[in-house]
Subunit: 447 residues, 2 copies
């Protein structure tokens, strides 16, 4: 029986394993993972910590029983140590002993690890990162006695955790080195999220570098480049992730930008019988037309599915990532897809970006809220290049960015977006959806 | 100064007038309308009647002052009587007198009128249709003393009015001749709406023909083919609309299906200098690849914009309608786009339709609700042909159908829908959006 070995039990690994079984059930599929939490939703950790998802077991996309029933063999608490492609085996450590697992095909889905900046005090007790179930359990335990929390970094995780701790009525400070929170969107849009956080009592310091953390009188003290000393019972460092590649590099896998594995659109690594997918690989980005490091759960699922299918004899191409993403912070939703103005310029386009503020649905129907949309298009060709949307959590922001994402996937012009036949009823939209109003504003600016 | 005359002050007429001024402000633009309510949202009438929009003036998309400021001349309470293309003039009745308005170009946007079935008693006092502000005012007045309402017809308007009157704590009966409510979606999906209505105390009789209405002891009595006699203080007949074409036909405009005007994709009628748009015309339907009568507000806006632009020298093509539509009935949203299975067969495709029920977002995040999606695709080509979605009003049903609509506009395959880069965060979706899960279910059924 041919054997697929999957290294990693998160999004890409499980998606790959399931896709392999789906494509050809004659394959034997084993998933080896370092912890005991296969197929857990890392994106759900903030909701466990907020109390919105009180039972951590609910964070599993599928239970171990579901996965076994789907025909997967799970090797829990099994750390991959070495990859030996010429002999097609992997050395793993389990129960304090090393042994070898042979494979016909192997999928490297080792994911990412949180960046730990070389900060004085980063290793102190009470300073945490947030990437695994173990991280979540440790913070959950710590929260019992915590009143003051400092979050270093105001990206998605930082903002979601600020939301989570605010819901728990903790005193929360967020410190971000960049000029604005959520640097994945334009600063003017990130500003709406910052206002939402401060409006709920979160102290947000932007343009502020953390210079070190000290422990004093049983509390942590975070010092900043601006000379502040912020006391905390708990510090979370959330300044991004980097690909987790030590294992694969031992097998000779080539690395590219940010140290992530280089793969083709079949998720092949170039080393025979070795595939890779998810947060440990570079992702094909069709809009700039190059690969880049853009770790996202959605992408990991898609790449895993492609890799798993191809590993057992199928033939799928990864369609690429537009960088579509959304986050909810308290009552605000922020989303983006495609390129922002500066990114479009860098990629060689000739972009124009407009902004409109428009109600999410007819103002006469209760509950309408203003949403802000930015549309970026190419002046030379009229082609849509990207969009950003900020609005209330009830404003269907996520699915509106998806309309743009779908249009981008087909390389529509901004004019064609204005012509889309979108649905309308007063509780949900206007006869021209905000997506179309934004497109028309872009066209009017084009003169 | 060249002069555009627009006959009709609802969606298509106003959109046309504004588009003309936008395209070439040197044109003089007059909008003649039969009542005194230009640019009112007919789709909003149910919310005025429910009390959700207490002030009827809020139903105006734009005020008369806004329209005047945009450069439009408004001729209120001006009924178009005769169209004389050879002499380029229109006879109108105003203040009990007829006079002539000359034009260089004329846009016929006379809309639709409610179907009045030849039912005994249809003209009795207390029997109303619902299409104009005057209809809404009359019903609003009648509701003061009404306790029992019978709605004949369970299409969009009928269901929305049942919702509205339920919110007003009235006793509501809906009588529908067809086997299920909301015949615009498959019966199994309409069933969810019927359950929602009956769950809120509405009496819904399907497969039940109304045979007549009588007045007795100061009440109305609606009799059915099944022998029932349903008493009411108010009866609303909502069995659809037909194009309002008497005026245009006097000018020689050709009519097609359902008696609507035949136009090309520039919204030209074939009669020189005469354009037509909105609920009085046949609409280009790219998926079956033919014109048909499908009156929708979104389409009226788009066609009006195309007609107005072209009338003053521009050059736009109407992109066509996929029939994308959504309605909210109490806590349920129902939407569709493209072709249903039977429609696809009739249009010559070789369709397969699947249904999935999936949570609108990760179940571990509070508020997840099951939504039902149906996807229709062509077996021979893999092309997406249509979709239907039913879910809770919070489930982003409207914008999810819009993702399908955007995919349809680009003639994507179902497989490509599965590959879309859609946004994800647990409060709004899953790593594979329900749209993609539905697509993948279709692909699995394809084997």
């Amino acid at each position: 029986v041919p054997h697929l070995l999957v290294i990693g039990g998160s999004d890409a690994g499980i998606a790959g394993a399931l896709a392999a079984r789906h494509h050809d059930p004659s394959w034997d599929v084993t998933v080896a993972l370092a912890d005991r939490y296969p197929n857990f939703s890392i994106c759900g950790l903030p909701f466990y910590l907020s109390g919105e998802t009180p039972n951590w077991r609910d964070l599993a996309h599928r239970s171990a029983a579901d996965l076994t029933e789907a025909g997967l063999h799970l090797a829990l608490e099994t750390t991959a140590v070495d990859l030996d492609p010429p002999n097609r085996h992997v050395t793993v450590a389990q129960d304090g002993r090393c042994h070898e697992l042979v494979y016909d095909e192997v999928l490297v889905a080792t994911g990412a690890k949180p960046v730990r900046p070389p900060l004085p005090g980063i290793d102190l007790d009470g300073v945490h990162t947030m990437h695994t179930m173990a991280d979540a359990f440790a913070v959950h335990e710590r929260l019992r006695d915590a009143r003051h929390v400092v979050i270093v970094g105001a990206g998605y995780i930082g903002c979601e955790l600020a939301d989570a701790f605010t819901r728990r009525h903790l005193d929360v400070s967020v410190i971000e080195a960049l000029p604005e929170v959520l640097s994945t969107v334009d600063n003017d849009l990130g500003r709406h999220v910052r206002d939402e956080l401060t409006g709920h009592g979160v102290r947000v310091l932007v343009d502020t570098a953390v210079t070190g953390i000290r422990s004093r009188e049983r509390r942590l003290h975070v010092s900043t480049g601006s000379g502040l000393d912020v006391a905390a019972d708990l510090v979370i460092v959330a300044v991004g992730v980097s690909p987790n590649t030590a294992f694969g590099r031992r097998g000779g896998l080539a690395t590219g930008g940010r140290g992530a594995f280089v793969v083709d659109r079949r998720m092949a690594t170039g080393i025979p019988h070795v595939w890779a997918a998810g947060d440990c690989v570079e992702t094909w980005l069709p809009l700039p037309g190059r690969a880049g490091y853009l770790p996202l759960g959605t992408t990991a699922h898609k790449q895993g599915r492609v890799a798993g299918t191809n590993a057992v004899g199928g033939d799928r191409l990864f369609a690429g990532s537009l960088g579509t993403q959304v986050v909810q912070v308290l009552n605000v939703a922020v989303a983006r897809t495609g390129l922002r103005d500066s990114e479009a310029s860098t990629a060689g386009y000739h972009p124009r970006t407009i902004e409109v503020t428009v109600d999410d649905h007819k103002a006469y129907y209760p509950g309408a809220t203003p949403m802000v949309l930015r549309v970026t298009g190419d002046i030379d060709t009229g082609r849509l290049l990207g969009a950003q949307v900020v609005g209330h959590r009830t404003a269907q922001v996520a699915k509106r960015i998806d309309i743009f994402a779908t249009a981008l996937q087909s390389a529509l012009t901004v004019d064609a977006v204005s012509d889309l036949d979108l649905s309308y009823t007063p509780p949900y939209s206007s006869p021209w959806d905000p997506v179309q109003t934004a497109a028309q504003t872009w066209l009017s600016a084009a003169g």
